[in-house]
Symmetry: C2
Subunit: 277 residues, 2 copies
């Protein structure tokens, strides 16, 4: 075998029976396209920048292939799409699927087994249901706004001593580097898994206390939409480090520094630490 | 269900048929004990510090339970054991199983699905065969010293622009913090997965370029023994950042700053960056 191929299987997603048909179909389509892409392309082929996505950044082939499969699902179900690469598909519906086709694309293309499909259903601008699937294992997290969920955050309120995941640091920007380091100095344990949507799921189920973009303005709304349903349902909070409202907006050039935490208090402590307050 | 229990299943390990019977049995015993511990104890129970291990640090209940299962295997097979918690069992054999019962214990006890069993068989002081099992998925990596392997590192030689995993930073020690930051400034991508043995497997199979303890002297020989077989077999190198020999030693108080890299050149660049040279 070509040693640059990623040899590991992509299992079928364990989609909960209660998931909305659009979320279920999109998750299965994403996993199927992800598997097919891995079987056809090696690491370099998956990572090749083949065009500029709707968010204005160069897009990897893997993202395009998965996003295309999701676009077919929304067309078949006559709902709208807001996704990282394709951008907006308006099928005239009151329902929009807001999707990150491959969260952790760099992991996925390299073979680091931490990548996810994550999506939220949005009704007239309000996220109502989410499904996150760890593509490398098929493990899924599902939540419906306003309904009880099996997930419970740790309940932690204090940053000092917390277990926090962060986006990778940007050492060449002094302000960003300082913000990253302020969080690291107060947490007891720092991880960088490079997959925001899975890290949000770990906050929701109480495996880590929080996850943040420490001021690098990397997050698009597609990176946060699933968490905006799942994490509050589990007792946590999703905010922007600078207090800006998180809005489902078709302008994918808008960026936030997402803070996802076990409690609203911890979210505010994390945000304040990032801002240097 | 108690929301502090970790609900995810622990699959049977996919042990390669060619694995030595002691490695195969130890891996299956570790996975079985890991599964039983998760079914019986919640997160706090798994993480409870129940005694001081052979390496002189407080030991979590989860480590004790898994290490005890491994001890039964070495006794049944009449080989010796060198492991993190129990330390040395001398059954008078020329063969020693050098094992990290639960690599990434903090992950495992919290529910972050990145923990491993990793072990090497050592004949008269020389590691000859390794098996690493990602306990959360059953995925295994197996290598025999001097024999061809399916794993190939990325072959990268330069630190500038590399994808490097690091142990978490220690911001309150200025020298360690500076060493960590020197590596982060030169790499293009930094991850902290908090599981040295899985990160070594990712180097071996070419998913990341390198992994290092950036000068915190955290690694014991049990953390590095499996990598010392697997990574060179795949074209990479395992060294200490300060040039000390990596020796299979029954004194578990000895520590190293392990550097595991796609090539010997990259290992030397990483080690030099850690030392500040």
């Amino acid at each position: 075998m070509n040693p640059t191929m990623i040899p590991w299987p992509v299992p079928d997603p364990e989609v909960p029976a209660a998931a909305h048909p659009v979320l279920a179909a999109a998750t299965r389509a994403a996993a199927g396209a992800f598997r097919a892409a891995r079987q056809r392309y090696d690491r370099a082929g998956l990572a090749e920048r083949v065009r500029v996505g709707a968010d204005g950044t160069p897009t990897m082939r893997l993202d395009i292939l998965v996003d295309t499969a999701i676009a077919e699902v929304v067309d078949a179900h006559r709902v709208n799409l807001l996704s990282e690469e394709i951008g907006v598909i308006d099928n005239g519906s009151a329902v929009t699927l807001v999707a990150d086709p491959v969260d952790g694309t760099a992991n996925a293309a390299a073979g680091v087994p931490l990548s996810a499909f994550a999506a939220a259903l949005v009704h007239d601008g309000v996220p109502t249901e989410s499904l996150t699937c760890w593509l490398d294992t098929g493990r899924c997290w599902h939540a419906v706004a306003g309904q009880p969920t099996a997930y419970r955050t740790t309940g932690r309120t204090a940053l000092d001593g917390a277990a926090v995941s962060l986006l990778r640091p940007h050492p060449h920007d002094p302000d960003q580097a300082a913000a990253w380091w302020r969080v690291a100095q107060r947490a007891s344990r720092i991880r960088i898994l490079s997959t925001s949507c899975l890290e949000a799921a770990l906050v929701a189920e109480g495996s880590i206390d929080g996850f943040a973009d420490a001021g690098s303005q990397t997050h698009r709304i597609v990176d946060l939409a699933a968490a905006m349903v799942m994490v509050p349902a589990a007792g946590g909070a999703v905010v922007d480090a600078y207090g800006r409202p998180l809005e489902i907006d078709t302008d994918l050039h808008r960026r936030w520094s997402g803070v996802i935490a076990a409690t609203p208090d911890l979210a505010e402590e994390l945000a304040a630490a990032i801002r240097g307050q």
